[in-house]
């Protein structure tokens, strides 16, 4: 079937939560938006809200509405999607950031995109451990869940690789929507001697970034290039984010849709995208160049090459 701007591929993205996290969910939405602009694709976004009892119904309802492609993210949605997919053979399903069990063979219309984000986080951790003055780095987690831990475990592994003596303090906020708390947690970590903070906590994390800005400490962004987000509006904030661990969800979905239009997308299987695919990585922008010394940057690039070559194995909390 040929899709055109007049007869576009109809795609629905069911957000398990709401947009506005400025990272994971928004990133996917941005990729879809780009697809809608550049490809013969029409995109609908459904935000199913924070009540998890609503997620499955929203996915099922969207599927019922006759879209060509249904997109959703994370392990929270995988099970629901895998249950629905066999009943809707005409519809295509894309899950990102997780994969179902394809071995049963009944998920020929489902595509999974997974990211080796720990590899990127490894690099950020490596750089952080090299540039910390105090030898102490703080992490702030929204909750202790897979997606979050995938970042922190890689980050810690990288930091230890760079400097076995580096101390990492970790605080769990228990919420993704309390920036004031995120800020307090970061301030407390700074007060206890940390000089770099790595928040992986959505809106709560934004507060931690602000703490770094106010205290003149450094921070690592998460999911997307967060320095770029602040650039212009809040230059002081952008100035302290020396890099970000990027999970290019949007780009990968864009590519998946492109391939769906071409008919080359490998439905019925899962993709595991890593550094080599460019789907994950650290932001090497002007702030990175400014705040990270050239020798460290070179070391980081060397580490990256080793990971891609398989000489360094970065652990993953995802099986």
């Amino acid at each position: 079937q040929e899709y055109t701007k007049e007869n576009p591929l109809k795609v629905v993205y069911v957000v398990h939560g709401t947009l506005g996290d400025k990272s994971f969910l928004d990133s996917a939405a941005a990729g879809l938006k780009r697809a809608a602009e550049e490809l013969p694709v029409e995109v609908t976004v459904i935000e199913s809200g924070l009540d998890r009892g609503r997620w499955q119904p929203a996915l099922a309802d969207a599927t019922d509405q006759g879209y060509d492609v249904v997109v959703a993210g994370s392990w929270e949605m995988t099970g629901f999607m895998a249950e629905l997919a066999p009943d809707y053979p005409e519809t295509k399903f894309i899950i990102f950031d997780d994969a179902p069990d394809f071995s049963a063979g009944n998920l020929g219309n489902m595509l999974a995109i997974n990211y080796r984000v720990s590899t990127a986080a490894y690099l950020a951790g490596y750089a952080a451990a090299k540039i910390t003055q105090t030898g102490k780095i703080g992490e702030i987690l929204g909750v202790e869940g897979t997606t979050i831990l995938e970042f922190t475990s890689g980050f810690e592994q990288g930091a230890k690789a760079a400097n076995p003596d580096v101390e990492i303090v970790r605080a769990v906020a228990g919420t993704f929507t309390d920036p004031a708390k995120g800020k307090e947690l970061a301030l407390a970590q700074f007060a206890q001697g940390a000089d770099i903070v790595f928040p992986v906590a959505g809106g709560t994390g934004v507060g931690a970034l602000q703490a770094a800005r106010d205290e003149g400490k450094l921070a690592v962004g998460v999911d997307s290039d967060q320095a770029a987000i602040f650039e212009g509006n809040d230059q002081a904030q952008a100035d302290v984010i020396f890099t970000s661990v990027e999970k290019k969800v949007g780009d990968s979905i864009y590519i998946a849709l492109q391939q769906t239009l071409d008919g080359t997308a490998p439905y019925g299987s899962g993709l595991l995208l890593g550094l080599a695919d460019g789907a994950v990585g650290i932001a090497k922008n002007s702030y990175y160049d400014k705040l990270v010394p050239a020798d460290v940057r070179a070391e980081v690039d060397a580490e990256e090459a080793k990971i891609i070559a398989g000489d360094i194995v970065v652990d993953s909390v995802m099986q």
Binding site: T18, I46, E47, S48, G49, L50, D51, R52, G53, R54, Q56, P57, A58, A60, D61, A62, D64, Q65, W75, E76, G79, V143, E144, G145, T146, T147, L149, E150, G174, V317, M318, Q319
Partner: protein, 365 residues
């Protein structure tokens, strides 16, 4: 029920008429909001009004909501009738959910006894959790509002912790337990939907609460304590015992709701933050139902319909999700209002006495 006077049906009729008119106004306001935010307002509005009936699946969603709203409404009605303002249903839901999950995940979960045993466990857990603020109130005079709110937060955090650290599949980092065995999940009444045994449990609970309140000695005592604790004491009723037992019993219904949550078709597992704050909507149900158990499912039915309609409108149309809560707020405000309807005086005379809202001089009596 107790105060049923000769004009009882007329009174109920008036209430219903008032509610219907309020609802109509609320929907009108909702329509305005929709007109302002939607490119296809007609579709959005008709979705709001009809979507819950659009398929078996959506009917299941509605009925599932009704079951849960009924249970939380009942729990709140019970404590409100005893003039206690415990806000603890949410904590009870989490405790109940936890214990139901523990049973479901134990060897019993794979047996036919899974459902009753899990429910009993959940009810006991909820009862203990309802008992605590009641006892603190009766024994120490500690405000049940504050203690129960604090216990809610504690329950959520503790259950979240237990899920993450002990119940979630090891190493997965997922914040949810594995699916329970099918024997531990409520059977669906309409297969493939959320229309499950939960609604039957909720209706049974309604009858039980009604029976306890209006047909038993304990219930009469409870209502007398609620009306006038001093009088109850004078009559020889141990009001602190009644108070604590009412809060404990309400807690068991909160716990039961927890079991219905986690064992229902909607979940079938225990996840962090599973209740979506629905427990608190019971306050609304109880107040609108005037704490009358038999009115609770009726109110839940109507409110649940609108709730689901609004949700589906958010999913199926371009009305922004955020506007759903705005519409919901407007509906609550207007349904709760009692405004003067045209010809109210006339209707009032036809229908007999009106219980106009208490103004200060009347309160002096």
């Amino acid at each position: 029920m107790s105060t049923s006077s000769p004009s009882r049906f007329a009174l109920v009729g008036r209430e219903v008429a008032r509610a219907v008119i309020a609802l109509a106004i609320a929907l009108l306001v909702a329509l305005v909001v929709i007109l302002a935010t939607s490119a296809d307002p007609a579709k959005a509005f008709s979705t709001l009004l009809t979507a819950p009936l659009s398929s078996n699946r959506t009917i299941g969603l509605w009925v599932d909501d009704v079951a849960k709203l009924t249970l939380t409404g009942l729990a709140f009605s019970l404590v409100f009738q005893a003039k206690q303002f415990s806000m603890g249903v949410q904590g009870q839901v989490y405790m109940g959910g936890l214990f139901a999950a523990l049973v479901a995940m134990s060897p019993i979960g794979a047996t036919p006894f899974a459902i009753p045993v899990a429910m009993a466990a959940a009810m006991c857990a909820g009862a203990v959790y309802g008992f605590m603020p009641g006892y603190a109130k009766a024994r120490f005079g500690a405000s049940e509002i504050v203690s129960s709110l604090m216990l809610n937060y504690i329950a959520i955090l503790v259950v979240n912790y237990i899920i993450r650290a002990h119940l979630a599949p090891a190493g997965s980092g997922q914040l949810v337990t594995a699916k329970f065995p099918e024997t531990a999940i409520l059977p669906a009444i309409i297969p493939g939907t959320r229309f499950d045994l939960g609604i039957v449990i909720a209706l049974a609970a309604t009858v039980v609460v009604w029976f306890l309140l209006y047909r038993t000695n304990w219930g009469l005592k409870l209502r007398l304590v609620g009306h006038n604790a001093k009088f109850a004491e004078y009559s020889g009723i141990r009001s602190s015992f009644i108070m604590v037992s009412a809060m404990t019993l309400a807690g068991s219904f909160g716990g039961l709701l927890g079991a219905v949550f986690v064992q229902g078709r909607a979940f079938g597992n225990l996840a962090q933050n599973f209740d979506g704050n629905m427990a608190f909507e019971g306050i609304l149900i109880a107040i609108v139902a005037r704490n009358k158990p038999l009115a609770v499912p009726v109110v839940a039915l109507a409110y649940g319909y609108l709730r689901q309609g609004a949700q589906l409108m958010g999913i199926r149309t371009d009305v922004p999700t955020e506007m759903i809560s705005v519409v919901q707020a407007i509906i609550i405000l207007l349904v709760a209002s009692s405004f003067t309807l045209p010809g109210k005086k006339f209707i009032g005379r036809l229908m007999g006495r009106s219980q106009t809202a208490t103004t200060a001089p009347e309160a002096a009596k």
